[in-house]
Subunit: 151 residues, 2 copies
DNA sequence: ATGAGTGCAAAGGCTTTGCATTAGG
DNA sequence: CCTAATGCAAAGCCTTTGCACTCAT
């Protein structure tokens, strides 16, 4: 296991315990799965990668991890919810969402752009009265596979 | 009725008919409701503003309008789906989403920023192999009301 | 022992769908 | 007339929940 991964679990465990819950092996595995995936995973995929843990338990554990600030549920227009590690664990990023197959890929922008974006958000917050705490920028398009298939 | 509104219905009707369906008075009313709202409306709100049209019919009509490219379903983390007119009818815009009450408000960025954003997206599309067709930038924060209440 | 986690099954809640009826072209 | 739209009720589907059992502390 990499140093980064070890670090991840230490942080995750701390948060889960701070939330008054246990860092079970099941939860550890879920964090591991999401970390390895590197992009938001739909529930069936999580279920499939965790040999033996029933669906209801997966939901409950994900809810626990979400409450502890380790996992967040990503909203998509698919049937199943997708889950990823929170940004303060993985770093700020954006999503490329395939409008055809639903695949989601993590991506980063040039840092300069991210700054410009922040500035715009601040301006917007002031103009509208919203206290902006975060943003969510998703790109919708066709992934390589679907683009090739439809060509 | 404003000239813009008349224009809107003409376009909407054309699309619905092109999709092989009728521009019913019920559908016309739905378009009217969404146009007046000026921001994505959750289903209960739509139902409430349309005196007499059963829930299943509202769903069916929204689906028809969506298929015709007049309406689009907005993804949120709320229980109910939200609906708005498509961007080519209302113009490109973004959403301010209140993380507390779920309120959604439409907003625009400075046009210069929008250009920068497009450039970044083009660069990203090239780098990742995604054919980006659109983007969706939502700001999550506290709306005026909720910010005041929690202060 | 004592509370948390798990499995199983049932319930929930939004959305969709089948079917008979009604209305629009 | 003929097809589409509507209402009503039932079904679907993801997700949540109740309850008894097991496991870890």
């Amino acid at each position: 296991m990499s140093a980064r991964s070890r670090e991840l679990h230490v942080t995750a465990e701390a948060r889960v315990r701070a939330a008054g819950q246990r860092y079970t092996s099941a939860r550890r595995q879920l964090v591991e799965i999401l970390d390895r995936a590197g992009s938001p995973l739909p529930l069936p995929a999580i279920l499939g990668r965790h040999g033996d843990l029933k669906q209801s338990s997966v939901y409950r554990n994900l809810a626990a991890l979400e409450q502890a600030g380790v996992v967040r549920r990503v909203i998509t227009d698919e049937d199943f919810g997708r889950y990823e590690l929170t940004e303060d664990l993985t770093g700020h990023h954006h999503h490329l969402v395939c409008s055809n197959c639903g695949a989601v890929e993590d991506v980063d922008f040039a840092s300069g752009f991210e700054d410009t974006l922040e500035a715009q958000l601040a301006e917007l917050a002031e103009r509208t009265g919203f206290s902006t705490v975060s943003h969510r920028l998703d790109l919708i398009g066709l992934c390589r596979t679907c683009a090739a298939a439809s060509a």
